[in-house]
């Protein structure tokens, strides 16, 4: 049967592609379980003397693990903030026409095209001037630059899929706007909110340039901790690899929970 | 073109079906003659789409064989079966023009260009799209797109059968009538075997020479529209076909009489004493208001133009009458008379024949 041959071909293609994706990650995990002596001394495909020392270093040293906590704090702040402002705006764009709506929508999207490098220095000066430098909220606000347009865009797509009759029925039934929005409308687009939250989380979690520029000690993200430690302490490869592995985990967990919604979110053609 | 035979065909979507309900299509055998127009009629989930997918080769039946002529096609792929299919919603190649859409099945089979052109022109005339041949399919209305699908189904002359899967679902009502008439005309003209799946009895009865009524995975009756109407083999056929459907009343049968809720009425022929749940069935147009007969309570009258429907009940069961426009209805009546010749007797939902005709 031709279909059987085709599906075997697909399996080969997917296996090769997944290997390509996973082998570099495996190498990082492999290194994180080795001692530095083993990493630099011998070349082995798997750890000869598996050790958790590298992870222990990170989980017991505040300068390391605070990095994770800082990152998580500003990522969560950013996600909540982005959704909170994007929800009403997306509702306005999906339900009404108003003066300058199209221009405004387009202008919002152009912010997604702004290179963070362009904004790094002005952000630094702006947040220093208003006394927000090295705070979590500074990074959370800075990441709104690209996450708010994205959230508005995704949510607008999901909201446009909800028939307007539902709004009208609710108003006729005497619901006020805030009550309608939180009790009826938000549950209807729950998967959309999930998808938007996922992408906000993702883009805030992976960004480094802005978060590094806007912090020094108190809100320093894990990503920045990694780069600085490399240059300072020389080549502690094992700890570096362990830190890298630990930065992959939150993302992997998040994907696992939203896996059934990812395809749906992508299906709207909106990222 | 070929005769289509289903030999002991059955299908289940479960790997190891046990109970009766596990079968999406219960064992059936049927022969459809070459060039006939057939309809598969039933409500959704009755197994008609399963049967269609088995014919088209999308599904491999769990049991039995499908034959086109003498050839066993059960294991053949869709392409090898040489059939055409029109789907529930328009399936057109958006980026192609109407002409390219119609030519596509021919081009893929390597037909010479001049023959393709002639065929496409002929089909375009049939479906009335000669003017729009060079338009892109993308921008057309649903009606027009469905006509293209129809045309793609008709463009090959040598197909074994053309399958229609509720093709008029997305079409406007007046357009529906036009397309159905067109289909009928095309069938007369070219004599393809056509198989039409629908849940709409009007579509089925007006289109087909023979209607196959399905319910819960079973073929309950196959016959001409007239025989389905006059002698439904199953109570399901009785109330599914006809508007309103057949009246059904629980009864006791003794020879040539039926006793319903204490009233005895005559039958046209004697029946053997039946076992099981016994019902009599009668079409609403075979009943008239009377001063004697079954006690009837009128609930309301609906005037639908050339006749009126009287809705009411007999012995607590819903019971309808159809009275022609020109026939007066008595101001007050509380009984109805049934035409004995048109009463059917059903045991456990299946029709039984009277003794004399059976003998």
């Amino acid at each position: 049967m031709t279909t059987a041959r085709a599906s075997r071909g697909s399996a080969v293609v997917m296996t090769l592609y997944l290997l390509f994706l996973l082998v570099p990650i495996y190498w990082l995990v492999n290194m994180s379980l080795k001692t530095n002596a083993e990493i630099t001394g011998t070349f082995s495909l798997w750890p000869q003397n598996p050790t958790l020392r590298n992870f222990r270093v990170i989980l017991t040293d505040p300068s390391w693990y605070m990095g994770y906590i800082n990152s998580l704090i500003y990522v969560v702040m950013n996600t909540v903030l982005s959704l909170a402002v994007a929800l009403p705006a997306a509702y306005a764009f999906s339900r009404y026409r108003f003066l300058g709506d199209k221009h405004l929508f387009f202008w919002l999207l152009t912010n997604r095209m702004a290179p963070p490098a362009v904004f790094a220095l002005p952000f630094f000066q702006l947040y220093s001037a208003v006394g927000l430098f090295d705070t979590h909220i500074a990074v959370a606000l800075a990441h709104c630059l690209f996450n708010v347009p994205l959230a508005v865009w995704i949510l607008e797509g999901f909201m446009s899929g909800v028939p307007r009759e539902i709004d009208e029925t609710a108003y006729i039934d005497g619901y006020s706007f805030p009550r309608f929005f939180t009790r009826i409308f938000m549950p209807l687009i729950a998967s959309g909110i999930g998808v938007a939250a996922f992408f906000c989380f993702m883009f805030s979690w992976v960004e480094l340039l802005l978060s590094r520029t806007l912090t020094s000690v108190n809100a320093k993200p894990i990503a920045a901790t990694m780069t600085r430690t490399v240059s300072a302490s020389g080549l502690d490869w094992g700890v570096l690899a362990a830190a890298g592995v630990l930065t992959i985990l939150p993302g992997a967990l998040v994907i696992w929970f939203v896996r059934n919604y990812i395809a749906k979110g992508f299906a709207l053609g909106r990222v | 073109m070929a005769q289509i035979t289903f030999d002991n065909l059955a299908h289940s979507y479960l790997p190891a079906p046990k109970a009766d309900a596990d079968w999406a299509l219960k064992p059936m055998s049927l022969t459809w003659r070459d060039g006939g127009a057939y309809a598969l009629l039933g409500s959704s989930g009755c197994g008609k789409t399963t049967l269609l997918n088995i014919i088209s080769g999308l599904l491999h039946p769990s049991r039995g064989r499908v034959l086109f002529g003498d050839r066993n096609v059960t294991d053949l792929s869709t392409a090898e079966r040489n059939i055409a299919q029109v789907f529930q919603f328009p399936v057109v190649y958006d980026t192609m023009s109407v002409r390219e859409n119609l030519a596509f099945p021919l081009k893929n089979r390597g037909m010479p260009a001049d023959q393709i052109a002639a065929r496409v022109d002929a089909v375009a005339r049939m479906i009335g799209m000669t003017d729009t041949l060079d338009r892109r399919a993308r921008g057309l209305t649903a009606d027009a797109k469905q006509k293209i699908s129809l045309g793609r189904g008709m463009v090959r002359q040598d197909v074994n059968a053309i399958l229609f899967d509720e093709p008029l679902t997305v079409i406007d009502p007046q357009m529906k009538w036009e397309l159905r008439t067109q289909l009928k005309a095309l069938h007369r003209e070219f004599g393809h075997t056509m198989i039409y799946v629908t849940h709409d009895q009007t579509e089925a009865l007006t289109f087909a020479d023979e209607v196959v009524v399905m319910s819960e995975g079973r073929v309950v009756q196959a016959g001409t529209p007239q025989s389905l109407f006059d002698a439904p083999a199953h109570t399901f056929v009785g109330y599914f076909i006809g508007s309103p459907g057949m009246n059904l009343l629980d009864a006791e049968i003794q020879g040539t009489t039926a006793r319903i809720a204490g009233t005895t009425i005559p039958l046209a022929a004697p029946y053997a004493p039946p076992k099981g749940r016994v019902q009599i069935g009668i079409r609403p147009d075979a009943v008239r208001p009377a001063s004697e007969g079954l006690p009837f309570r009128l609930i309301r009258t609906e005037d639908v133009g050339h006749h009126r429907i009287l809705r009411g009940e007999v012995a607590g069961a819903p019971f309808n009458l159809v009275v022609p426009e020109d026939q007066p209805i008595p101001a007050a009546f509380d009984r109805v008379a049934l035409d004995p010749a048109r009463i059917g007797v059903f045991v456990d939902d299946w029709r039984i024949e009277p003794l004399e005709r059976a003998a």
Binding site: N111, P115, F266, G269 | -
Partner: protein, 288 residues
């Protein structure tokens, strides 16, 4: 579907405006401000007109970075878009494997960008990296630290590793929206595999493909962290892309005026090329 006109909807948009004003407009005004002024480093600024713009537009260094950037984005698009489509066509359609493949494929997308850089920096090293070690064992002279071609190859492979899944997932979503009847119709019409792709799958993917091309263009054009971690822009300036050059100029050398003018031109170039992609691709879609 005509939406009612309601100018009070502005109140709903207001929070977004305030926030974006704070996180985009004010910084952008700062950039504009710097771009037309000069300073001697004592916080005293004076009007410099379009001098910085002229300097940037005539700078060989920036021309070279722009050239590298354009080449990089072109290569990235040329590899990731076809490869992403190809992968999407081969992904399992449903069931447990589909979920698993989806999750594994999304994994690189959620790794912080500098960790992506670190992974490949380590992976490519001849002494401790699997890739570098294997290539060396095969007798291939590979060294991304000294050899510009090797550095480019490493960064391109890294980007393909990092982002192809995004293209594939987008295309996959587009493919998932095609009803089975289309494939059945194609079988009946005896369309070839190529015909199915050309006349069914590709047209249905055109919407998501537009998004994929735009996103991959924008993000590859703004790339900073990953190559910075792997090569630091070297060897020499071989992998100094626009963002790397900009950060060097603004934060490293503190040349605020030129950096600001550079920023604005950079932003405009992205807007312009995105607009061109958008216009060309939507016109293509409407025509075919």
């Amino acid at each position: 579907m005509d939406k009612p006109v309601n100018n009070r909807a502005w109140f709903l948009v207001l929070p977004v405006l305030v926030l974006v004003a704070f996180s985009a407009v004010i910084p952008l005004m700062t950039v504009v401000n710097y771009s037309v002024q000069d300073t001697f480093g004592n916080n005293q600024f004076f009007w410099n007109g379009l001098g910085w713009f002229q300097e940037v537009l005539e700078s060989d260094r920036i021309h070279a970075a722009l050239g590298r950037q354009l080449l990089f984005s072109a290569i990235i698009l040329a590899i990731e878009i076809p490869l992403g489509i190809f992968i999407a066509l081969n992904m399992p359609k449903r069931g447990f494997w589909a979920s698993l493949v989806l999750v594994l494929m999304a994994l690189p997308l959620l790794i912080p960008w500098n960790v992506v850089g670190t992974i490949w920096q380590v992976f490519g090293r001849v002494d401790i990296g699997l890739l570098g070690h294997t290539l060396a064992a095969l007798g291939i002279d590979y060294n991304y630290v000294n050899d510009p071609v090797d550095a480019w190859a490493t960064i391109i492979v890294m980007d393909v590793w990092h982002w192809t899944s995004l293209v594939a997932l987008l295309c996959y979503a587009g493919l998932q929206s095609i009803p089975d009847a289309y494939y059945q119709a194609a079988r009946i019409d005896q369309a070839s595999r190529w015909g199915v792709f050309r006349y069914i799958e590709l047209p249905k993917m055109s919407g998501v493909l537009l998004i994929a091309v735009l996103l991959r263009f924008m993000d590859s054009f703004m790339i900073y962290t990953e190559p910075f971690v792997v090569t630091g822009g070297g060897p020499g300036n071989a992998t100094t892309f626009l963002s790397i050059d900009l950060v060097k100029m603004a934060i490293g050398q503190f040349d605020l005026g030129p950096a600001a003018a550079f920023s604005l031109i950079y932003f405009l170039v992205i807007l312009l090329i995105s607009w061109v992609f958008y216009t060309v691709m939507t016109a293509q879609r409407d025509r075919t």
